[in-house]
Symmetry: C2
Subunit: 291 residues, 2 copies
């Protein structure tokens, strides 16, 4: 099984540092969710893994081989991104065939099944496809290539709700048939929360979280009740945010609760979902002002 | 107040007809939602209004003036789209100034306030912006130009959840301060359902719905209960779709119910939301197969 290792990856664009000393291992048969606010560095990270842009420092190893100028290593990775790499005059089926030159195990049968399900005409030229259908085509390619590591940068950008649902289903099916590494970067966290087994959270260019979804949710709580009692109960805990409704308050806690504390009858402790955890861990100035 | 009139607009790309004899009037101070599945022709329609692509037949009039080769008429309209029209080396503040050459009433003060709120550095070059921040920049321009008709083609594509919420708030504020015509095309219908006053629904290149959100929802129902009773009750009504859960069934009806029919105690009638109405009105082969 393929393993990807990033060691101390940093990236500067001019004066701004986009990624700061990222260490990361992608391994096993896992669907990773790469999360982060706009501008957190998600796309930059994925592009560095696929060697489309160079890191300022640090290295990426694919099965122990450096990824720079290394077609063999890079053939194990496929990056689906927003960037349009195709000629406007190329037809969809022609793009499939060109992709198969680099990924010889390209699954044409699956690709044809998927163009049918998504109602994508393979005779259309890339330049004539709508924004949504360009993404559909790229998603189909990502599911059909025989790479061991599939990086999906915003795979549902521009897809309507029914196409998004279809894509998630087909992704799960492709993964079940041939387990491999998927990394999905998206802003529609609610929609993929059930899919991702492992969360990678970028904030300000650093890897803030790198853990299984299960572990993360097991230490994420909403403490709800009358304002005063809630604040007494959560004092000193790792409160990452709160919501208020009149005199009621929910404090969101990430980390261990204190077993010694007595929970008043009026206060409840519940789990929170990934979207809520994400929002509270990544809130910027704007949310702080609102809070 | 500006009025836009489309008369019998059709558009062919090669052999495929994307738009079929669209008649449409945009008028008053209204936030329109332009909805439709992937490939329905939404972007094509907006591009024709702004004269970025020519119609195959039909005409667009802006305050009674044809929009072809007519800078005065086109100056009343602004189209924010996924297309990147800017030089990669242009800085954000420079792009604002260039926009002001075409839209002299460009609101620099609002633009600066918004770059602050979205934490967009105006000194960055367009080519260095992430996908999400490119959309943020274009959204800011769309809210700051002094056009009477603002067309927004997928304004939240690539925006994270907090930025999407901020954008909706700022849009409502801009609209309250200076009411004008907004047309928003998006696939995140749930998020904008509360914003849009008037629905334009494209299906297979035709304008399938053109009515106020209020009128549409007033004739949209979910009839829920035991399968047999539900189907007896809805027989002959305009059933646009259904969901099943065990032996329970919801039939979705669009149009008048029959006052003469007796509603069994076991069957309930409720309204549905815009997203549900949309999905059931636009379901394609794929959903039909699932049903």
């Amino acid at each position: 099984m393929t393993e990807v290792n990033l060691t101390q990856i940093s990236k500067k664009f001019g004066k701004s540092t986009v990624l700061k000393q990222i260490d990361l291992t992608l391994a096993g048969q896992t669907i990773y969710g790469l999360l982060g606010r706009n501008g957190a560095g998600k796309s930059t990270l994925l592009n560095i893994i696929e060697n489309r842009i160079p890191a300022t420092s640090g290295s990426v190893q694919i099965d122990g081989e450096d990824n720079v100028n290394n077609d063999l290593a890079l053939g194990k990775v496929y990056l689906m991104s927003e960037q349009n790499l195709y000629s406007n005059s190329a037809k969809v089926d022609q793009i499939f065939r060109e992709t198969a030159l680099f990924y010889p195990g390209f699954d044409f049968e699956l690709a044809h099944q998927l163009t049918n399900k998504f109602e994508l005409n393979e005779n259309l030229r890339f330049g004539k496809l709508s924004t949504g259908y360009r993404a559909v085509m790229k998603d189909i390619i990502a599911l059909a290539v025989d790479a061991e590591v599939i990086l999906l940068d915003e795979p549902t950008l521009g897809l309507d709700a029914a196409h998004r649902e279809l894509f998630y289903q087909e992704l799960m099916e492709a993964y079940a048939k041939r387990p491999r590494i998927f990394v999905i970067s998206t802003h529609l966290i609610e929609e993929i929360a059930g899919l991702i087994e492992h969360v990678l959270l970028l904030k300000d260019g650093k890897m803030m979280l790198n853990d299984t979804t299960e572990n993360l949710l097991a230490q994420s709580y909403a403490i709800t009740g009358p304002e005063k009692q809630v604040q007494e109960y959560t004092a000193g805990l790792n409160v990452i945010g709160h919501d208020s409704l009149g005199k009621l308050r929910s404090d969101y806690v990430f980390g261990e609760l204190d077993d010694q504390r007595i929970l008043p009858d009026t206060v409840s402790v519940e789990g929170i979902d990934l979207q809520k955890l994400f929002i509270n861990l990544t809130n910027g100035q704007w949310e702080k002002e609102r809070a």
